[in-house]
Amino acid sequence: MSELWDGLVTAVKLIISFDPEVMSIAGRSLAISATSSTIAAMICLPLGAVIHFNKFPGKRTLINIVQTLFSIPTVAVGLFVFVLFSRAGPLGGLDIMFSPIVMVIGQVILISPIMLGLTVSALSGIDKSIADTAVSLGANTFQTAVITLREARFAVLAGLIMGFGRAISEVGLSLMVGGNIAGFTRTITTAISLETSKGDIELALALGIILIIIALAINLVLNRIQQK
């Protein structure tokens, strides 16, 4: 019990003293996840609008598949990305294995289904009269999509934040394709997993607390949005 208590005290000291290692790992985690979330959002918002506003055979099935992929295991995406980008893989020539770039690619794949699925469902929550009104007022297809996304903005934003939350908290993918290289691909989750197995509980706890603080912040933002 006292070991845990001492660990906690040291962890808090590490955080409030802005320990360089802790800060650099947390900063990297935020940077990688924010990048992958931004890229995924840029893909999923337009794609979600295209899926919502068009009728095509298999639309329902596509949405079902996307929803199934919400809970795709991180290690499954890790394996897929590993096979794709490892030396012998089809994209091995790019030589980006064990780099932040490949981690971002992996996270984009991981969180896109969530962002896409929640964007489509946010749009379908908007009454069709919104699109009709826009079209009747002279909006073209793009302008109609923008106003409908705008009407759904709180639900859409909630979906984007969910995606970010999944990106920053996952560990399997980052460990497999990032390799937990200190000062390069080490993130909060990979560091916790390594430091814990090494017995360095203080650092792991400090990072764990930061991760929880980030999760809490995300939740607060989500709550604020949903109250609007």
Partner: protein, 360 residues
């Protein structure tokens, strides 16, 4: 030349025709009302005219150009019209921004946007609501924002779908006031749908009666009201007495019609032997306790079957060889002492009777 013209347009939803062979021509500057019961196809027709959806058959011309299918022509044409949908919908933004939407989508300059938005808000009596969140408005206010938003783009054609249907009487008459003002001042071409016959009469220059997906009669409000061309239209415009008969005699324009044994005189061009419907508006019938010696040709003795008040009036059902419905004021109902089983005389002029041919 007409501004908007349809040639045999039709629309089907899930395989079923909801609109069939509609050919209409709307002239620039006129106010045209589509009247008909709920579900007749008014909204569908307006959606086709506003190019919100494409027809399943037929062609639509706007300002002389075929805009049936070409996507970019449709957008161009649509930007010269606007439509106030039946369920007034506002975007989740301020009243001002709502009204500015159509102008921004047309890439108008900021100064133009400001001037037009303020003008439209002024016109619809919503100027002081400019910065309000549009979602917090009442039904009538929301409808006025929707109208301002449609007017701001200075449409050549303004479509209104049941502009007062979902409103309380006070809001409804306010909206009607705004519309009457716009119609009078702006000279915009207006096409409106309403199930309210009297609203159509008050606002429109021409009326089209639509039923079961077909336009049955087009004409002036007075014409439709006094000379409906068939039984369905007659029923819809409030002709409560529709009797079946056969013409048995003719003296110049004056014909005599046998209605289940009683003889009714009317003015008609149909010949002897023609099977007809006899239409008599209840307000054209006078009731009196004694046989009337006036010049009115039709005078029938009858017994009162039912008396029931409707607003300020009293409707009286008579049996006089055929069923007849008359309307009198409350005052005269009291004076006449109208009561069930009482004997009265019903009188109406030959010119008050409208004759249409029976098709079945």
């Amino acid at each position: 030349m007409s501004l908007l013209e349809t040639v045999n347009i039709g629309q089907k939803y899930s395989g079923k025709y909801v609109l069939k062979d509609v050919s209409l021509s709307i002239k620039r500057g006129e106010v045209f009302a589509l009247i008909g019961p709920t579900g007749a196809g008014k909204t569908t027709l307006l959606r086709l005219l506003d190019l919100l959806e494409a027809p399943a058959s037929g062609r639509i011309y706007f300002d002389g150009r075929d805009v049936t299918a070409n996507k970019s022509l449709r957008l161009q044409a649509r930007r010269r019209m606007s439509f106030v949908l039946q369920k007034p919908t506002v975007f989740n933004m301020s009243v001002y921004d709502n009204v500015a939407c159509g102008l921004k989508w047309r890439r108008e300059k900021e100064a133009v946007v400001r001037q037009r938005v303020n003008q439209a808000l002024e016109l619809s009596g919503m100027a002081e609501y400019s910065s309000r969140d549009a979602r917090t408005l009442s039904g009538g206010e929301t409808q006025r924002v929707a109208i301002a938003r449609a007017l701001a783009v200075k449409p050549e054609v303004l479509f209104l779908d049941e502009p007062t249907a979902n409103l309380d009487p006070v809001s409804a008459s306010k909206i009607e006031e705004v519309l009457a003002h716009i119609i009078g001042e702006q000279k915009t071409t207006v096409v409106m749908a309403t199930h309210n016959m009297s609203q159509g009469q008050r606002l429109a220059g021409r009326i089209g009666v639509i039923m079961n997906g077909q336009v049955l009669q087009v004409g002036s409000p007075a014409g439709i009201f006094s000379t409906p061309e068939n039984k369905e239209v007659a029923q819809f415009v409030g002709v409560d007495n529709i009797l079946s008969g056969i013409i048995v005699n003719r003296d110049n324009e004056l014909v005599t019609i046998d209605v289940s044994g009683s003889l009714i005189q009317a003015i008609s061009e149909y010949g002897i032997g023609e099977e007809v419907h006899v239409l008599i508006r209840p307000e054209d019938i006078t009731l009196s306790p004694r046989k009337d010696a006036s010049s009115a040709r039709n005078n029938f003795e009858g017994r009162i079957a039912r008396v029931f008040p409707v607003g300020a009036l009293v409707r009286v059902e008579l049996a006089c060889g055929f069923p007849l419905l008359a309307v009198v004021t409350k005052r005269s109902a009291e004076d006449l002492g109208l009561a069930v089983d009482k004997k009265v005389y019903a009188t109406f002029k030959a010119t008050a009777v409208h004759i249409i041919k029976r098709w079945n």
